[in-house]
Each structure stands twice: as C-alpha cells, then as structure tokens.
Subunit: 430 residues, 2 copies
C-alpha cells in the first residue's frame, strides 16, 4: 500500500464535521478500497474553540486558511467554506496553483469560477473535484462525466434543491400555504434562516449550470441561466395541479438546441406518473437522457452532513486511486461557447394562473388576450370561492404552443385593472 493521501480541511461546519466523522468511522474500509489511507493532516475554521462533536486535537490547526495550500505535508485541500468568491476562491486558486488537489462542495464557486479553476487545475496537472457541489450524496457528477460519457446528452433535468422540494411536497400533502410550510422547514433545519438562495432558485441554478457544463461540453455561462423560484406558488395552484393529475416541482432543465444551450430553473407541473413526481421531502433526483443509454435516473439525499461528506470522500478516494481527468470531462480549452437558446420558440403546454377581482368581463378579457396572441386554451378553471381579500383565481392549461405566445398574451394583459398580481406561468414537463 502506498503512502496516505494527506488532506487539509478548510471549514468545519456540519459538512466538515461529517467528513471527519466519515473518515474516522470508515477509514479502514476506505483504505482497502482506495489502496491507501485518507489522512487528515490539518484543519482550519473561523472559531477554534467551538464544540463540533469531533476530536480536533489530532489534527494540526492552521489559523490562516490560505496557508493550507502551501503546506508541504498536504496533497489535497477540501474546501467547505462556501461563498462564490472571497476566501474560498482565494484558497482554491492557491491550492490548484500549487499543484495540489482541490475537493469542494461549493456550488456557487464552481458555477461562477469553475472554468478558471479547471484551467488552473489542468495546467498544474492537479485534480479538481466537486461531486458534493451537486445533489448532495448522489454521484451524479460522476454518473454524467463517466457513467454516461459514451452518450450525446439530449437533456438533463431534475430536482436539485431539497429545501424547495420539501416545501412543495409538504404543501401538497398538508394543503398548507407556502409561508407556513417555509417556517416549518426553517424550524426543522431544511431551510436557512435566510432562505432566498434556495426558494428563489439560485442554488438549483448553480447546480444545473455545473451539470450542463459537463453534459454539453460548453463553458459555464451562469448569467444566461433563466431562474424563477417557488415563492409565488399557492396551495390553490397545488390543488389545481393535483386535480389535473400533476404535482408541482422546482425543475432545473438544460437542453442543447442546434448548438445553443437552454438552461432554466422554474417550477413545473410534473405528471404524477413521472419518476420525479414521487420524489418527496428534501430528496434530489436527476434525469440524464443519452442518445444510447436512454433515460437514467439518479436519486438520493440532496443535502445533509452525511450524504455531502459521502460525496466529498468519494472524490478523495478517486484522487487516491489516481483520477486526474478533466474536471468538466473535456479540457477547458476544448469546451465550446454555447450561446443561449432562444426560449421563446420552445413549445410546451403551460399552466397559467391569474388572480383577478371578481367582476364581470374578466374572463372575457383574459381569453380574448389568449386568442389574440394565438394561444389555445385546453382547459380553464375559475375558482368559485374567492381567496382572502376578495380576489378570485383563474387557472388554465394551454395546448402545446410556443412560449412566446403565452408571453405575448401576458403583455396584452399588462395594465389590466382586473388582474391583481403578475400571472404565474408554469410549463407542464413533457
């Protein structure tokens, strides 16, 4: 057995503690599988005195995080500090620049700076791995980069944020409203005190951007990502979707279209028979559609210290075994620049929900706008009982048509005195 893989750990939050516990618990087993031991040499975090439930005495403490990258007794730095920029990015640059491996769970940093970091890694011949940045413990980066490597990927989509999925599936099961369920999720630790990153779809978008980069061999272009969150979904929408045979899930979807890249995070109506419809709670699931593999589904815990540590250590084992391939499957220099696809031409059936004042002529106004924009309505449901505040919900499902048609109809309705809130539009996942 060769010498241990020597690891420095930056960041000792829940995931950092999980990594230490995992290596302590499964160390012997891991050494057999990896062919060498994983040895944590040094650690660094903001507060040395905090009780983390693990014994840190056996590891060297480094006060200045970036010095981890300089240590001669370290082969790989595990970055669990978080934040797209700042100390995490500085550490990543220095680590890879020094020819050491970097393993990170930092989706924001990879989504924004993954190209730069991969270039440094490739130039230095150092491994850069980020399985834990996407979908917690699910080995989907590996599944895509290696398992599905023989395939031209048609599209990749899935449930990438456990907080949103917990909220939506709980709203569905309990009939309660968004705000109330969010509060519960916060109390249970499924949502942060400041939940914006999750519920606005940003976190899912970071993960989708990373997956899309690997799937389509394009440079990550996070600015081109279209993002809507789940904050405007009401229990009435969920009930309406249920009546139509659908559930609502926040879906991140990326697709290659004639050399362009479509990438969007938004709530969608998912048919109850679709494998993603039965994904409840904080679970994540990703579907990869390859031209030979067909549809592959990867599902598991999307967050939590154990699952995320499992992904971090899987990366470490890969490095211990000698994996030093391109982080994004294809060398950065060979990645394409994929222009954003024109989403207006995308065809879908769509769910539209209007909140309107309960007065004569509203329906005529809405349906006329649909007609004028060439949008064909498949079914229309006006809710009988008014919501709080006297407003009434009007929901409809359109026939399949271009998104630009729906957008045009909503433009025609802008400024309508009867419509009290920006209409909610969700495509039906086909």
């Amino acid at each position: 057995m060769t010498q241990p893989l020597r690891i420095a750990l930056a960041g000792l939050g829940t995931v950092g503690g999980g990594v230490i516990r995992l290596i302590e618990t499964n160390g012997t087993l891991i050494a057999r599988r990896a062919g060498r031991a994983l040895e944590i040499v040094a650690v660094c975090a903001r507060d040395r005195s905090k009780d983390r439930g693990v014994d840190l005495a056996r590891y060297q403490w480094e006060d200045d995080m970036t010095l981890l990258a300089e240590r001669g007794d370290v082969d790989v730095v595990v970055e669990l500090v978080g934040g797209a920029d700042g100390p995490a990015l500085a550490l990543a640059r220095r680590t890879l620049g020094a020819g050491k491996g970097l393993v990170t769970a930092n989706k924001a940093m990879i989504a924004h700076h993954g190209m730069e970091l991969a270039r440094i890694a490739e130039e230095a011949g150092a491994p850069l791995k980020f399985e834990a940045a996407v979908a917690g413990g699910i080995p989907v980066v590996k599944g895509l980069r290696e398992g599905a490597a023989a395939n031209r990927i048609a599209r990749i989509y899935g449930i990438l944020n456990g907080t949103c999925n917990y909220i939506l599936s709980t709203m569905e099961q309990s009939g309660r409203d968004f705000a109330e369920v969010l509060k519960d999720a916060q109390d249970l630790g499924y949502a942060e005190a400041d939940p914006a990153f999750d519920i606005e779809g940003i976190d899912a978008a970071h993960k989708l951007a990373i997956l899309a980069g690997i799937a389509f061999g394009g440079r990550i272009d996070f600015a081109a990502m279209e993002i809507s969150g789940i904050t405007r979904i009401r229990s009435a929408d969920i009930a309406q979707a249920a009546a139509l045979g659908y559930v609502i899930r926040l879906i991140g979807l990326a697709e290659s279209e004639d050399g362009c890249l479509f990438q969007r995070v938004q709530p969608c109506l998912v048919p109850r028979t679709h494998p993603l419809a039965s994904v409840d709670g904080p679970t994540n699931a990703v579907v990869v559609e390859g031209n030979f593999s067909g549809r592959l589904l990867f599902q598991g815990a999307g967050a939590g210290d154990g699952p995320t540590a499992s992904a971090v250590v899987a990366d470490l084992i890969d490095i211990a075994r000698g994996d030093t391939g391109s982080p994004f499957s294809v060398p950065v220099a060979a990645l394409d620049s994929l222009p954003p696809a024109d989403s207006g031409g995308r065809r879908a059936r769509a769910y539209l929900r209007f909140t309107v004042t309960d007065r004569p002529g509203v329906l005529a106004e809405i349906t006329a706008a649909m007609r004028d924009a060439g949008v064909s309505i498949e079914s229309l449901i006006q809710q009988g009982r008014p919501e709080e505040g006297g407003e009434v919900l009007v929901a409809m499902v359109t026939h399949e048509g271009p998104e630009s048609g729906v957008a045009r109809a909503l433009e025609l309705l802008e400024g309508s005195a009867s419509i009290t809130e920006r209409p909610l539009v969700m495509p039906l996942l086909g």
Copy 2:
C-alpha cells in the same frame, strides 16, 4: 491527444452491433471526453456473412476468437459472446493474461469466474470492467465501486431483471395471467424463446452476486445465493397485493449481517409508496444504502442494445482515461470470505398464499399450523369465488417474525390433503 485505444470486438449480436453504432455515431464526442479516440480494429463472430446493419468492412475479421487476445494492435478486447464458460471464458483468460484490458457484458461469467479473472487482471496490471453486466445502461457498478466508495454498505437491493419486471408490471396493469403475459413478452422481444434464466431468477442472481461482491468486499459465492423466480405468481396474488397497498416485484437483495452475507432473489411485496414500486416495464433500478450517503437510487433501461452499448463504451472510456483500479474495488487477495447468513433468523412480514380444496376445516387446519409454529397472522383473506379446477385461494399477511416460523408452519402442513399446491411465500419489503 495520445494514440487511440485500440479495440477488438468478440461477438456481434445486438449489443455488439450497438457498440459499433455507438462508436461510429458518437466517436468525435467520445474522443474529446476520453482524451483519445476509441478505434475498433478487429471483430469476430460466428457468422461473417450475416447482415448486422453495420459496415464491418473497415474492421479486420478474425476467424478464431481467441486470437483477438494475441494481436499486437489491440489494447482492449470487448467480450460480448456470452455464456459463463466455454469460448468467452477462454478469451477472457487469454486477454487478461496477455496484459490487455477486458470489457464484458457477461454477467454469468463474472458471477462464476469473476474472482479468477480479477486475479489475473490484477497480476497483469490489466483493466477488467463489467458495467454492462449489471442493469444494462445504468452506471451502478461505478456508482457502487466509486460513487458510494466512502460508505459501509448496509444493504443493496433492486429490480435487476427487465423481463420479470415487464411481466409483473404488465400482469398488474392488465389483470392477465403469467403464461399469457410471458407469451406477449416473447413476441415483443422482452423475453427469450427459452425464458428460464430470466423468469427463474438466475439472471438477476448473477447481477446481484456481482453487486454484492463490490458492496461488501467479499468473494463472490454464487452457490450460496438463494433464488426463487416469478413463475408461480398468479394474477390473484397481484390483485391481493394491490388490495393491501403493495405491488409485486422480483427483488434481488444482499445484506451484510455480522460478517455473514445474505443474498437472495425472490418476488417481494413492495409498498406502493416505495420508489421501486413505480418501476414499470423492462426498467431496472438499484437501491444502495450507505452509512453516510443514505439511500441512493439508480434507475434506467435494464437491457437493450443502446443502453448496454452505453455501459460497454463507458468502460472503454474509463480505460482510455487510465482507470486500472481493482475490478471489485478491493484487490481480490484482500476480499473476505463471507459465510452465508442464516436466513431463518431474518425477521419480516410475509405474504402467504395457499391453494386449497373448498371444504370445511381447511382454514382451521392452516391457522392451527400457524399457531403451533408461533406465526402471528395480521390479516387473512379467503377468496370467495373458486379458481379453475374448483380450488380456492387463501392469502394472508403475517406480523413480523422470523422466517423460520413460517417455514415451520409450512412443514406442519406438508402432506395435508386440503392443500393442492406448494404454498407461495413472499416477504414484504420493509
């Protein structure tokens, strides 16, 4: 870019044709990802003149398959001949012995001779890979060997045979009987003309044995595998299960118990809320339970030329990228010999179905045997309307208890004049 990975292909059936088509279709993409081209150099099959829908003229034809292993212009042999022994095994031994890589879809060969072949591979420093041998296009060997490598695996289980799953889910949806649906499956190409390997559970057992070897770090012991197929399941069983909130699936399950290995393929009742319950048609799905990852699910097409070729070529890409790790994660010499677990002590709720003659006292006889064996009945359903031949079905679900109790009750009922067929026992998947 380094020189191409030079491949010889033995066996040109549907999967062999799929591999050629895949490499021809996605070759440029694959070369970018693998860092080098995959180049098929030579091929070999029984009949040179057969039309396979692919142009073989550009490849050298080898009449004697084992000579593929000797060619100086070949780096890896892809074995798609099939059969646990005979020519496939001879080719595998010679290929690895000559220090060349071997990629195979041959589950029977790996289940029976995987240890020997892995030893030859490890001694020669040659890669041996068999992703396509388990669950078609689903990268579950990789998911287990690498993605979940940080975990102690508690158990692994899943739907490993597409033919059985097609039959069971079709029986469920159509209410038709086994024989009729099997016939359809044969007509549709989902079942072989001789379906025994599939419907008796042997094929699933081969796959489970391979997964269990990787998951638990034990030498494969196929003889210790407990195997029951699906031939005795009636539409009445499926209806009964449905009434209780379950579906019936052929489940392969392996579990480590105090240093012993439990491994069994048998039909089980799966709660309708379980992710495996919604796996319909010829799909496969595997659940891996790790001590840090939690429950991971891998799902996709379990067979077919495209998916299987996708797995074969994923292995080739791994080899092209330089992966030469131990085929079973741990070097063969370090694998444990795990004795078979005593399954009698396993606790489960169980579904029991008796076929009985419709006469007084039958129920008393059965329930007395249950009582005497200490088996507690949770619910009992006697079917009112007799089946063909005048027999009546009596189904019951037991409370959780040891399997040995149920076995004892059935022993007590052996030779009963009222029971017309060996009772069917299926555990409820917990």
